[in-house]
Structure formats: C-alpha cells, structure tokens
Symmetry: C2
Subunit: 314 residues, 2 copies
C-alpha cells in the first residue's frame, strides 16, 4: 500500500469524487474547500455513484492552504478560471519532491504551473467523466471516470512513461479509477479538444444540448468543421489526429444521451466560462505556428462576449 | 402629375409606409393585404411619422392578387421569406409594360423575380428607413426613409440610369421620399450588406442590440472582421467598397441609439429569419467566385440552426 499523501485543490465534481475514492481506499487525502468548508466539516462528503454511493464522514478539510501539510501529490481540480490563485495555493501544499497533477480541461495550464513549481514536477491529467456537484459537499457521479495522464516537459515535449506516474496511476487503479498513461501529453490534450471545443463552445452560443447540435444538419456540419480545425491546429503542433478519431467522436456523441456541456452548465449558473483554457490557448498555440482557425477564432470572440454579458448584465 | 398606378405587395412597415405616402400624394395605389385585410377595410391605414401622421381612410385593399388591376409599378415589400409566393402574386398585378420594384433586404432576389417577369422589368430598391408595423393597419415610421434604386440586368450587370426609374423616383420624391439612383445595383446591395450581415446576424446569435455589439471589444472586432469579409465578397464580384465606407458604418452605428435589428425582431417574434437573402445568397455569390468567407459561413449555419429551433421548439 502506498504511503503517498494527496492534496486536493478544488473539492468539486472532479476533485471531490477522485479524492473521496482515494481516501476510501485508505490513502491520506487533504481537501481544500471554499464555500463548502463548514458543511463538509459537519457532515462529510457525500458521493453518489453507480460504482457505489458512500459518505466520507471524517474528511481532512481545510479552508486555507497554509494549514494543509506538504503532500507528495497535489491534485489541481479547480475550474481553470480560478487558476490565478495557484501561485498562492501551490507552494505551501507541495513537498520538495512532490508532484502536481493537473486534472483540468483544455490546454496551456501546465506551462503556467511549471512557472510556479518547475516543469519537472508537473503531470497533466484528462478526466473522462460525467460528474456534477449538486449541493454543498454533495457530488453526483453519473458515468465514466477514466483519467489519461502524461508527464509535462518544457514546451510540451513528449515526456514518456515515468515511474512516478505509474505509482500515481496505481493508487488510482487501486481506488477503482482506470488510468491510461500517455507518452505525449500534448497529443492527449489536443485529442480531447476535438470534442471539447465544438460542443462546449456551440452549446453556449447556440443554447443547445449535444443531441440538438447533432440532429440539425447545419450545427452538425459546424461541429465537424470545427473538429477539423482542431485537427489542423494539432497538426501544426506536431500532433497527428486521424480522421477515424474525428468520426469516432461524432458517432459517440450521436449515441450519447442529451448532454449539457460543462461550459453550458457554467453559463446557466452564471459562473465564468473556461474560455481561455479550452479555446483561447489552443487558438493561440495554432496561430503562433501560422495556422489560421477562423471558426474557432469566431467562436472565441462570441464566447468572450457572452461570458462578459452573462456575468455583468443579464 | 403622373398617372402611374402602383400595386403594393406586402402592406407592412415598408410597403404600408411608402404606399400610403404615394396615395397621399394622389397616386392610384392598390394594397395587397393578408392578416390585416379586414381591419384596413374597416378603419384604413394609420401612419405615425415624424414627417406628419395621417390616416388613409379610403384604401384600395385586396385580399387576392387576381382582384388587383394590372399596374404600372408593382412594389414588392414582403419579407423575403414569403418570396415563394411571387410566381403566383406577380403576373396578375403587372401590366404588360409594367415594372417590378423590389424593396427587400439582401441580395439575389432580382434574378429570382426576373425568372418570373423577365429581367427587363425589374428594378431593385434599398430602403434606409426605421419603420415598424405596431398593429393591424398601424405603421410607426421612426426615422430616415431614403431609397436607393438601381436597374436590374442579367447577372447584375450595371444597368445605368434609365428614364423609367427617373419617373418612379420623381413620384417618390413628390411624395416626400428622397430617392438616390444608382448605376450599379449590385454594388449598392453589397454596400448595404456591410451593415446588414454583421449586425443582423450577430444580434440574433449573441442576443444583443447594436450598442452592446459596439461596446464590448470582442464583438466589436467580430463586427469589423465580418464587414471585411463582405468587402472581400464584393470585390470578388467586381464591386469595390472602400475602407472609409467600412469605418463610416462602424462610426455611424456607434453613434446610433441602441437598435434591435430587423432579424432580431423577427427572431423575438418567432417569425422566419431572412437568412438566405441577407447571408446565404451573398455567401454563395462569393463562394462561386472562389472567395472563402469563413466567419460569414459560420454565421450562416448558426442562424439556420437558431431559426429552425426558434420556429419548431422553443
């Protein structure tokens, strides 16, 4: 059994679920909480899940990062819109030889974290999960759960498979969470964007669920055109994504139950949208290589407008 | 005094206003009405206008085009979404040497009308007017009113200034409506699209008035990028639009009072949007010349999706 200690920054749908699973396995897990702190101190963390529902009654909950002991692994599971907090949050909770695992959407967060903790201490993770926070300290896991992990190296150079990521993967596997190890984090992130950019973006701009986007011919075409732009942006960054993968994403989404994307949920709840991580950063990464992605560029500006109006006026 | 007779197809904000002004001058005007027919028969047409409000109590109102006598000038002032009716409506109301004046938005309607009545009998008109139908037989003219007219020739070849358009312009001028004669209808239509495509399209997609689009930096940039695509589409069709004109449209809109575009009004009222005339036809005209307009192409698909959802589901 591992003796690794974990800190969870952001105890929401993602961090709350994975952290609770790790603690359920017997790991030493420390949860940073913000608005749910008092509720969780009193009543613990409630996880509903088809894998088995449970309550963690004894939660090591913290309101301030300085109170958390330095840990071996720090899981960043905040919304990326809160990442401006990381320069304060990360240093106190990370052991000198500890590692940060970034379980966030989008692209371009690892370099920002590497500036804070050094690039040799950053692992990126992509969560394939349907999970929502439905109340204070109350997480409803709906489906899936797999994580893809990849080592971060400067400029997203492929990092190979390292022993430390294998150890962390083993902890997750033992907790019932399948982990796929990727030798190429950048490729893994671009591949996830093939889904995330069109569906997150268009769901907000067109006020639509995934099934509506797939059923109407014009939005269906737009989804695929945007996916092809993501493939071009990836290619300009030496990441090859096949046409079969694009078709798989389309077919998979057609078969999914009607789904409200995370960005649309944020929009409906009047929370800031993760526009920069999911759309702005990949767009800039393509532009820097001279790749023009006009649909994504337009989507970016539309979302920035809608986010601004949503937070300030409506 | 002219002896020309006028038929008005579509007695709404445009047709009702101009037709009433012509009749007020003493012209022989015949109005085709649909849902307002009985109200107008009983109570006439009420025009509110800063130029002077008035009621036409004796209106030659018709419910069926076969009842209208053949006229010298037929004004087409329907929404373009009703143009599928024109093959039925036009032939009975047009004298053998009569002419059709198309007072509609967008591009590509004249060739369709030329297929019905012959290209030598079509004049295009662009209305620069703020006018709304606020009730049955009740039109509120708010501001402006100028019409730009141009002769249509096959494939929008410039038609020069002809005596017949001068005569019609004289009737309008006598009725208090300034008319500008254009030698190049295609250029006039592309120039109007510099305003119409970005503001009509984005007002619907982004749920915004003109002032909101101009005040937020991202939408402001998007408006201008779309205007530049219109300029490129025009250029590919041998219509030169200057950068000064683009800047004039931006500056003018910045100074305007907050304005709900006609497409946004249609959307709010759950009427079909004039997507093909304002966006689809110009887009195809550019594509046929090998000009790629990616922002406008995306706007087109977004509007088609929203129009479909608006009419069918929401």
């Amino acid at each position: 059994m591992s003796t690794r200690s974990y800190a969870i920054l952001g105890t929401g749908a993602i961090g709350g679920f994975y952290g609770a699973k790790l603690q359920q396995l017997g790991m030493d897990v420390h949860f940073l909480l913000h608005s749910d702190y008092e509720q969780v101190c009193r009543q613990g963390l409630l996880i509903e899940s088809p894998m088995g529902s449970f309550t963690l009654s004894a939660v090591k909950a913290y309101h301030h990062p300085e109170q958390i002991p330095a840990c071996d692994v720090v899981i960043v599971a905040l919304k990326t819109t809160k990442n401006y907090l990381l320069p304060q949050l990360l240093p106190p909770v990370l052991k000198d030889d500890g590692v940060v695992v970034i379980l966030q959407n989008g692209l371009g967060i690892e370099p920002q974290v590497a500036e804070i903790v050094n690039s040799k201490r950053v692992i990126g993770g992509l969560c394939f999960i349907c999970s929502n926070k439905v109340g204070k300290g109350h997480i409803r896991h709906l489906d899936y759960g797999m994580i893809t992990m990849g080592e971060y190296q400067d400029d997203y150079q492929p990092g190979g498979i390292t022993p430390r990521m294998q150890q962390i993967a083993e902890d997750f596997n033992n907790a019932g969470i399948p982990v796929e190890l990727s030798e190429n984090l950048l490729l893994a992130r671009w591949k996830k964007l093939v889904w995330n950019i069109p569906y997150n973006g268009l769901s907000v701009v067109l006020n639509a669920k995934t099934d509506e986007l797939m059923n109407a011919p014009d939005s269906r075409i737009l989804v695929e055109e945007i996916m092809q732009e993501v493939v071009r942006g990836a290619k300009g960054n030496h990441c090859k994504i096949s046409q079969q993968f694009v078709q798989k994403m389309l077919n998979h989404t057609e078969k999914m139950k009607p789904y409200l994307t995370s960005m649309k949920l944020d929009y409906n709840e009047k929370r800031p949208l993760e526009i920069e991580a999911i759309i702005g950063n990949p767009l800039r990464m393509a532009t820097e290589k001279g790749i023009d992605l006009p649909h994504i560029a337009m989507l970016y500006r539309q979302l920035k407008f809608l986010d601004y109006q949503n937070l300030n006026f409506h």
